[in-house]
């Protein structure tokens, strides 16, 4: 299928708009930073934006869908739809380097290393996002959202969220 120059331009503009949509639960990250935004293409004259959930039950997906449609509409990009894909499965490796830096600045410890099988059964060493100390401990396996756990720094005494490595 060949695409006209105007279609390519529309897809590119749609990507730029979609990439600015924020994650509703971690509003310092865009869905592009998070790796939830997988692609934008033109299908029979319709802008098709492909997204993937972080966790199967991630309740933010419905909000992301709505925000995306609203943003595309506001940018005057014409007819658009959202497609949800599960494969390849999202892992924390999909979070961009810029995204990890934004997480830390926001007070959430980013996943410390590449996702892997061993990660699920070994305890991570997590650096405190506030003081940088590695003297931290896990308070709870599950945190304020499905993708986070609750930790505490034993040096500066601050509790913090940790983005689970998955």
């Amino acid at each position: 299928m060949t695409q006209t120059a105007s279609e390519v331009d529309r897809a590119n503009r749609a990507w730029d708009v979609a990439a600015q949509v924020l994650d509703p639960e971690i509003p310092v990250l865009t869905i592009a930073d998070l790796g939830v935004l997988r692609g934008v293409q033109m299908v029979d004259g319709v802008v098709e934006v492909t997204i993937t959930p972080t966790y199967s039950g991630c309740p933010a997906m419905a909000a992301i869908r709505l925000d995306l449609m609203a943003a595309l509409d506001a940018a005057g990009l014409g007819e658009a739809r959202i497609r949800m894909v599960l494969a390849p499965a999202w892992t924390t490796d999909w979070i961009s380097a810029a995204g990890k830096a934004k997480l830390r600045a926001y007070g959430i410890a980013p996943p410390p290393r590449p996702a892997g099988k061993a990660a699920l059964f070994s305890m991570d060493t997590v650096a405190c996002p506030r003081c940088g100390s590695a003297e931290t401990e896990r308070l709870a396996e599950f945190g304020s959202t499905p993708c986070k756990a609750l930790w505490r720094c034993t040096r500066c005494r601050e509790p913090f969220d940790y983005f689970k490595c998955l």
Binding site: S56, F121, A140, E141, S144
Partner: protein, 250 residues
């Protein structure tokens, strides 16, 4: 006419939804705040998995059923979940034992399903296996903490294990509906997974100073629609809104 793939996916979906709903009943009642969050998070994982599965079941069923119709508009006898997941929450030890038995089975099951020749099921499996791995770890920790805890917590954890044990045999059943799908590499045969499951369970129970029950008579029937009385009560709660206000949306 029945479509084996539809029936099979429905079983997986019903297991996840019913257990997810059970865990959601703890919301606001957890023993401590962290555990309340953990139970709600695990419920969310399971309900999310069930949504993907219902979505796919609707697609292959060919009867125009969407995920809502499948979850909200079928009665007890049409549900295909194993009996284990519909058992009441009981005390916290019971909830943890039920979750541990189920998760310790689903972890190797989803691992195997990630290689399914059906791309949609393989994708769901690849997502679910990571979530279930957390559930195994979390519930193992609780089984050990309670089993190797006080006299009272030990007694309760052992009672929970003993009570739920007869419901674990059904996890390893495979019938004619699955036979052709297993043959085609679409479904995973659960029977060979029993050894790995037993090893996981035996190891955790041993660390927890608990006794592994003797293998005896096992309950069965959920996968063909013969349920305990508990499922009806659960569905009455789960389906109330759609039954009272058909088609309600917001």
């Amino acid at each position: 006419m029945t479509v084996p793939l539809f029936d099979y996916v429905l079983r997986l979906a019903d297991n996840a939804l019913v257990l997810g709903h059970r865990l959601s009943e703890w919301c606001g009642h957890g023993p401590v705040l962290e555990e309340d969050l953990a139970l709600a998070n695990m419920a969310l994982d399971l309900i999310g998995q069930s949504r993907s599965l219902y979505d796919y079941a609707g697609e292959v069923g060919g009867r125009g059923h969407d995920e809502d119709a499948l979850a909200y508009l079928r009665d007890v006898a049409s549900y295909r979940n194993v009996l284990l997941v519909e058992q009441p929450n009981g005390d916290f030890a019971c909830t943890m034992a039920r979750q541990f038995f189920y998760s310790a089975f689903m972890h190797p099951y989803w691992q195997a399903m990630a290689a399914s020749s059906d791309p949609a099921l393989a994708a769901i499996a690849e997502k679910s296996v990571k979530e279930v791995a957390y559930h195994v770890r979390h519930t193992s920790e609780w089984a050990i903490r309670l089993g190797d805890g006080t006299e009272e917590s030990h007694r309760r954890m052992q009672a929970a294990v003993d009570e739920l044990w007869p419901y674990t045999g059904e996890l390893f059943e495979a019938d004619a509906i699955e036979a052709a799908l297993i043959e085609a590499g679409i479904a995973t045969d659960p029977r060979p997974l029993e050894g790995a499951w037993r090893a996981t369970v035996a190891n955790v129970l041993k660390t927890a100073t608990l006794t592994l029950p003797a293998t005896g008579w096992m309950q069965t029937g959920g996968r063909v629609g013969r349920h305990s009385e508990h499922l009806g009560h659960l569905l009455a709660d789960l389906q109330y809104m759609q039954r009272a206000y058909p088609g309600a949306a917001w």
